[in-house]
Amino acid sequence: MMKRSSKLWALLLALAMVLSLAACGGNGSSDGKDAPPADSGTPADTGASSEGSDQEAADSDLAYVQGKGTLIVGMTDFAPMDYKDSGSDEWIGFDADMAKAFAESLGVKVEFLELADWDAKSMELDTKAIDVVWNGMTLTDDVKALMSTSEPYCLNGQVVVVPAAKADQYQTVESLSGLAFAVENGSAGAEQLDALGISYTAMQNQAAAVMEVASGASEAAVIDLLMAGAMIGEGTSYPDLTYTVQLNDEEYGVGFRKGSDLTNAFNAFWKEAYAAGTVMEVATTYGVQESVIEQ
């Protein structure tokens, strides 16, 4: 009885909060005409059909995206898949360039949205804040459960990053125990360490994990092979680091909302682009041609 009434209270309070926020929300946006005019069109447009839109979108995500004319790609700064050249405002990279081509094939504009928190990706998808997660995403069981994923397009693995001077001591999985690890929170690398029973400090992203090793705050990091190839070693910002053990083999895929028909559209687009040679051409530009999966 006690429990039930406290739950009821919680519900009431939550409701009161939501209502008050909603009330203030209306207030804020009507006063807040300073909000960027570009965006204010979107909620109004979709607002009209908001009641039914949930169902319809589940029926055809493709029609939804083509209707609004933009494909919003959720990603993070992750060379060589998605990054900006210094001084430039344009996202480039293997994933970014292919996303542009995919959007073009759908007849829509592409918009890149840099996510604050990689963990929020499925929430961003479900709430339609973004339309696709396309950012060197490893196809883990978690990811497959949360979204509709494409056929794998790229090979990857998790590798251990250590200072080059100590690299010869850490060539086997056994040698890793006892090292102070830094790894991106919730990443495929974290999963590997969990499986090995090695504890670690969770970081916001892979770059921060590498920074930990470079600064000496941690002894080793686990990051994606593709990223390590582009970010670490001679000729990069981290000439004193190197990578040794590869912990696993994995594949990259692209994620859409559950039940979305964009997944099939993507798979078809990718096969065609691969056959036409576009995929390998772009991959070669960014030095990932060895990892691309043959279609």
């Binding site: 309070l13 009161a16 909060m17 939501v18 008050s20 926020l21 203030c24 929300g25 207030n27 804020g28 946006s29 006063d31 807040g32 300073d34 909000a35 960027p36 965006d39 204010s40 979107t42 909620p43 979709t46 607002g47 908001s50 839109s53 949930d54 700064d77 060379a79 990054y83 210094s86 001084g87 949205l113 840099e114 996510l115 604050a116 928190d117 929430m123 479900d126 709430t127 339609k128 804040a129 992203n205 770059a207 921060a208 920074m211 470079a214 600064s215 910002s237 981290y238």
Partner: protein, 212 residues
Amino acid sequence: MLIPVTLSLLEGMGTTLKLFFLTLLFALPLGLVISFGSMSRFAPLRWLIQTVVWIIRGSPLMIQILIIFYGPGLLFGLPLLPRFTAALVAFVVNYACYFSEIYRGGIQSVPRGQYEAGQVLGMTKPQIFFKVTLLQVIKRIVPPMGNEFITLVKDTSLVRVISVYELIWMGESYIKKGLIWPLFYTAVFYLILSGILTILLNQMEKKLDYFQ
């Protein structure tokens, strides 16, 4: 390197400043309305307002930002507010609640005798509030308000959780390029802004010093 970094941080600073000023613009009047509600003689309204203030002040602003941005989509499948608007709504509501308590403290600190004197002179309630109470309230709330303003400057960094690209975000993005100092450098921008605010608030206090 310093100049391009400064320029890109200034871009983030623009978003920070926009959020700061718009929050003040809407939260200052809204706070006054809420403070009247929390002093209302109509008990249910008073309780409702006090509960809302308790929830808003008692839960982390970061959670409120996440709820306002993702909540409509997650709970009801509604389209989302634009990111900046959602952040602004969260800040306005949150700061209005804090301001309301400061207003309430200021209003209730004016001796009741003055109100009664006004009544004896035949003044109406609004007349008493605007001509007698208000200026004294303003004078008394300047120091605690200043505190909140300066907290607000730094709280703006929370909006990065919903990918609003403010100052700290811009500083942090350099970590991926192997530079950590731009992140620490952002502190200088916050210091300058809160320094300017401190000077302005001190001047305001001095101006209000002509009466006791």
